[in-house]
Amino acid sequence: MLKKIVAALLAFVAFAASAQEAPDVLARRLMTEVIEIVKNDKAIQAGDQQRILDLVETKVLEHFDFARMTALAMGREWRSASADQRKALTNEFRTLLVRSYSNALSQYKNQTIDFKPLRMKPTDTDVIVRTEIRQPGAKPVSIDYEMIKSGDAWKVYDVMVAGVSLVTNYRETFAQEIRNGGIDGLIRSLSERNKQLAASKS
């Protein structure tokens, strides 16, 4: 009896391990799900900000590593930030990115997404999942997701649109803010910006 239970447990563990999603599978599943929702939601298509944010919050954000994104945007300055500062920076940067880029979902019309094959060794912990958005009359736009394995899960830490990193694009601005007002100055600027955006929309 005990043997059977152990065997069942082992089988379950093995199953769970193999079921752990590869990064490209995860990205594909996620995008297919989200697009399906957008297609069937008139409010989102009309640009209803709250609905878009809700969708992104519940479906997408858990798969992003915002601390790492913030570190990447900060570059070397990340090292000199205290734990509290890092937390505040991550929070503000997360709010800014989510607010600014979630609305792109309402722009979705009938584009198709092509997933490029991912070549990856089982030992890899840092990969780029490459996709292409196609629409007639325009060159396909590449959207690449840089993903890292943290613990058991793969998380996105950079998004490159048409070859431009939406994260490192902030590096110069951040460096400038830090030169002008230190890390706390940057936190203040980010939080003021977020407050402005929240006030202008709501």
Binding site: L72, N103, P136
Partner: protein, 236 residues
């Protein structure tokens, strides 16, 4: 070769990892003062003229018609794109571009329908600035052009060549030329209406955001989407 080195230096200095370099960005944007003034001028112009017109255009002209207009101009562009691909030593890509033009101009009825894309003959985006970059010409300082927007010294020359070579400019009769150019401009601006909402929100400093975006984008274009990218260091 020197140009290539300069480009690499650009990557290293400004665009990513080595952001430890203090000071503003004299390496890529030594004319920041005047550039910002030109940018402010462009912004005003856009706010009061181009954007409202583009918004009106988007409202009045239905999406299928706008797609047709985009296809029409895209089709004309494919010719010059093809020439640039040849100049960059990419005959296969150039062949695709000319094939697209032939197909779309005929089956696609003067280019209003992009049948080539549906047959997986993908559109490319090449211009003379990229060709110069491929040849090793460094970008030179960042340059905000009045009316035309973000550029560099090299890309400014490139834009001049693009303009002179554009098939639209070969059409006799200045009224037709101007009309087509204006329609192309409004149509392009209308396509950007979604993106500029995101830019408006995302940027702490719109000028710097746009500049860094433009420079990263051009670098990526010159290397056809695979620019040399050094590993980003950081520790948690």
């Amino acid at each position: 070769m020197r140009g290539l080195r300069l480009l690499l230096a650009l990557v290293c200095l400004g665009l990513s990892a080595c952001a430890s370099v203090p000071g503003e960005r004299p390496d890529v944007d030594p004319w920041e003062g005047i550039n910002r003034k030109v940018f402010a001028f462009n912004e005003t112009l856009d706010k009061h003229a181009l954007r409202p017109v583009a918004q009106g255009y988007e409202k009045v002209v239905p999406l299928p018609a706008r797609t047709g207009v985009s296809n029409f101009f895209g089709n004309i562009e494919d010719l010059w794109t093809g020439v640039n691909n040849l100049l960059q030593g990419k005959p296969v890509d150039g062949g695709v571009d000319f094939g697209r033009f032939a197909l779309n101009s005929t089956v696609g009825i003067l280019g209003f329908f992009d049948v080539a894309s549906e047959m997986e003959l993908d559109k490319h985006e090449e211009d003379f600035g990229q060709t110069l970059g491929r040849w090793g010409v460094g970008s030179g300082p960042y340059l905000m052009l009045p009316f035309l927007g973000p550029s560099t010294v090299r890309d400014g020359f490139g834009k001049g060549a693009d303009f002179l070579a554009s098939p639209t400019q070969q059409i006799p009769g200045w009224q037709t030329r101007t009309g087509l150019t204006a329609l192309g401009l409004i149509n392009t601006r209308a396509q950007l209406l979604g993106a500029d909402a995101a830019l408006e929100q995302a940027a702490l400093d719109k000028y710097a955001y746009l500049r860094d975006f433009y420079l990263q984008r051009r670098l990526s274009q010159i290397y056809d989407g695979r620019p040399p990218r050094e590993d980003d260091f950081f520790d948690e």
